[in-house]
């Protein structure tokens, strides 16, 4: 077995989720070697950062056409690298970028990406979530070719701390052959959405509302609760998708990440996209009618019941206690 891990850059450094993918790769490899690859037009400093970790080697996959990111260039470059190195497993962080090209790369090599994996057991058996986190599925790779795996943010413990290792991993340069004509999409510069006026990140108390509220007309119910607590109001993605609350109040992977003292989740089932944005909260309370809702897996306190009864009662109880 040999494992190749693909590291991504964020703000000039190797991203946190990449270190988590590296940890997953190490776990998968056991005592076998793990090779790391960084891709881009300029990869020297990223490779140097990676080389401080106990990788068998670090490969700089470098080409002018690898920046900015396009799925066509990344797919072509990685296919060449995989053919040269022939790893048995390739591990990625499950980022938006990986979701954009890794399924195509796997397809081109006659394989299927095992995406958004949360655990790896002996076998190897790869666990991923089904039905919005309500069930887990254990997958096996049965193909004869390389096995492609992407790991969910936060599922593995990764660190950029190099540890006690003294010697640096050897760095190799790999120049894929890429042709501008292969690249069919033209990406623009990233830009920010509308200016954010709500900073949920610094809020101490947050009341967050999800699909369980059913209709925009019912929102005053949670607004009352937030007011009684002196809390900021936030929401899961579907509420903002429907335009019931502005996008800037959205908590989750596509919104803001928060870590208040108290996060009170009302009618939120707890899809992973939401959980990643709030599971660092000091105390989590969930009110949901479904006792099997995944939100209860991260909650400290839960009330299983009809939010239309529980929320007004809670608002009254808070008013009475203050």
């Amino acid at each position: 077995m040999s494992v190749l891990v693909i590291l991504e850059e964020r703000n000039g450094k190797i991203s946190r989720t990449s270190w988590e993918a590296a940890a997953a790769a190490q776990q998968l490899a056991g005592t076998n070697p793990v090779i790391a690859a960084v891709l881009g037009a300029q990869t020297e400093s990223l490779a140097a950062e990676a080389a401080a970790k106990p990788f068998a080697k670090v490969i700089r996959v470098e080409h002018a056409l690898l920046a900015p990111y396009t799925p066509d260039a990344f797919t072509a470059a990685l296919r060449q690298l995989i053919q040269k190195e022939s790893p048995t497993h390739i591990v990625f962080p499950h980022t938006y970028q990986v979701r954009d090209y890794a399924p195509a790369l796997a397809t081109r090599m006659g394989q299927v990406l095992l995406g958004d994996v949360i655990a790896i057991e002996d076998g190897p058996v790869f666990t991923r979530q089904l039905m919005q986190g309500r069930l887990n599925g254990e997958y096996k790779h049965t193909g004869s070719g390389p096995c492609f795996v992407s790991v969910q943010a936060g599922a593995f413990r990764g660190s950029d701390d190099a540890g006690p290792q003294q010697t640096k991993a050897q760095i190799e340069l790999f120049r894929p052959s890429l042709d501008p004509a292969q690249i069919r999409t033209k990406p623009g510069e990233p830009f920010r959405g509308s200016a954010q006026t709500v900073d949920l990140g610094s809020a101490q108390l947050i009341v967050s509302v999800g699909r369980g509220i059913r209709e925009a007309e019912n929102l005053p119910l949670v607004e009352e609760l937030a007011k009684a607590l002196g809390a900021e109001l936030a929401a899961s993605r579907p509420i903002c998708d429907n335009g019931w609350l502005p996008m800037e109040r959205q908590v989750g992977s596509s919104g803001q990440s928060v870590a208040p003292k108290l996060y009170l989740a009302v009618g939120i089932s707890g899809a992973i996209q939401h959980l990643v944005g709030m599971k660092g909260s000091q105390c989590i309370v969930a009110i949901n009618k479904d006792p099997d809702a995944p939100i209860f897996e991260v909650a400290d306190y839960g009330i299983v019941g009809d939010l239309f009864e529980v929320v007004p009662a809670l608002t009254e109880a808070i008013k009475a206690a203050r």
């Binding site: 980022t95 938006y96 979701r99 954009d100 090209y101 399924p103 195509a104 397809t107 006659g110 394989q111 299927v112 990406l113 995406g115 958004d116 089904l130 039905m131 919005q132 069930l135 887990n136 599925g137 254990e138 997958y139 096996k140 790779h141 049965t142 193909g143 069919r184 999409t185 033209k186 990406p187 623009g188 510069e189 990233p190 959405g193 993605r237 903002c240 429907n242 596509s254 919104g255 108290l262 105390c283 309370v285 969930a286 006792p291 209860f296 897996e297 991260v298 909650a299 400290d300 306190y301 839960g302 009330i303 299983v304 529980v310 009662a313 809670l314 009254e316 109880a317 808070i318 206690a321």
Partner: protein, 261 residues
């Protein structure tokens, strides 16, 4: 322009789930089914593009007989016709196996644009659109919120799409047609089917294609071996009692135990 929307039928969101006795699927008896919500956003984008530029919206969906109802729902919302790939073995196929079926049905249609939701609410693989693009040898972009098309009537039609990045960032992506886009939810407001639409849908063309006529399924590479219930990592205190009583207990615990109030 001709737009194909690939749609999946999934268990209704609040449906109670039971693991099947072989632990390889969920118990389908008594289950209610619905259109995968991200696919509903893909359909909405397609219908709006048609309203702007004219053309045709074609639905393609794979699955057993029950899938016909979800295709009819899309026709009631305004799609022009549907293709139902009748397949009873979807669970035995991996993401590539399902995408191969869709690609075989889409290819002879020579669409200008293929749209699909970015992921399904049941398996959550989030790969079908990207694999489809690779199989059809078309450019693609994922996590798209808005689509603009210039010179829609010409073979040189160009797409400009707004793509969602992480942490509140976006970018715009340009590409030629034909292309495949996977649509993120929230870019548009979903429409409801009108009574007239529901009536019209009954007379619209819904063609069935037998999956076996689209070529033999390759052996799956990724195999779902066992479905289990997630293990709780944290011990959650479930507060019992009627609403009023539970609320009072919770406030007390938040004050004296968790000390967050």
């Amino acid at each position: 322009m001709k737009i194909i929307v690939a749609i999946k039928q999934v268990p209704e969101r609040d449906a109670p789930l039971r693991i099947a006795s072989d632990a390889k699927g969920i118990e389908e008896r008594e289950l209610q089914w619905a259109m995968n919500e991200p696919d509903a956003y893909a359909l909405e984008e397609a219908l709006q593009l048609k309203e702007k530029h004219g053309g045709e919206v074609v639905i393609v969906s794979a699955g057993p007989e029950r899938v016909g109802a979800t295709i009819r729902e899309a026709l009631a919302k305004g799609a022009d016709r549907g293709i139902h790939i009748v397949a009873d073995d979807l669970a035995a196929r991996d993401a590539l196996g399902v995408a191969q079926l869709l690609a075989a049905a889409v290819k002879p249609e020579s669409p200008d644009l293929v749209l699909t939701g970015l992921q399904s609410e049941d398996l959550g693989l989030g790969q079908t659109g990207v694999i489809l693009a690779e199989l059809l040898n078309l450019p693609h972009a994922s996590l798209i919120l808005q689509v603009e098309i210039s010179s829609a009537d010409s073979p040189q039609a160009q797409i400009k799409a707004k793509r969602e990045l992480e942490e509140g960032w976006f970018q715009s992506i340009e590409m030629p047609t034909p292309a495949v886009l996977t649509i993120q939810s929230g870019g548009n407001k979903l429409r409801y089917a009108t009574l007239m639409g529901i009536k019209r849908a009954k007379t619209k063309e819904l063609r069935t294609l037998d999956a076996t006529s689209l070529g033999a399924a390759a052996a799956p590479v990724a195999v779902l071996d066992k479905i289990t219930l997630p293990q709780k990592k944290k011990s959650t205190q479930i507060i019992p009692g009627a609403a009023k009583e539970a609320a009072a207990t919770l406030v007390e615990k938040l004050k004296s135990e968790a000390r967050v109030l």
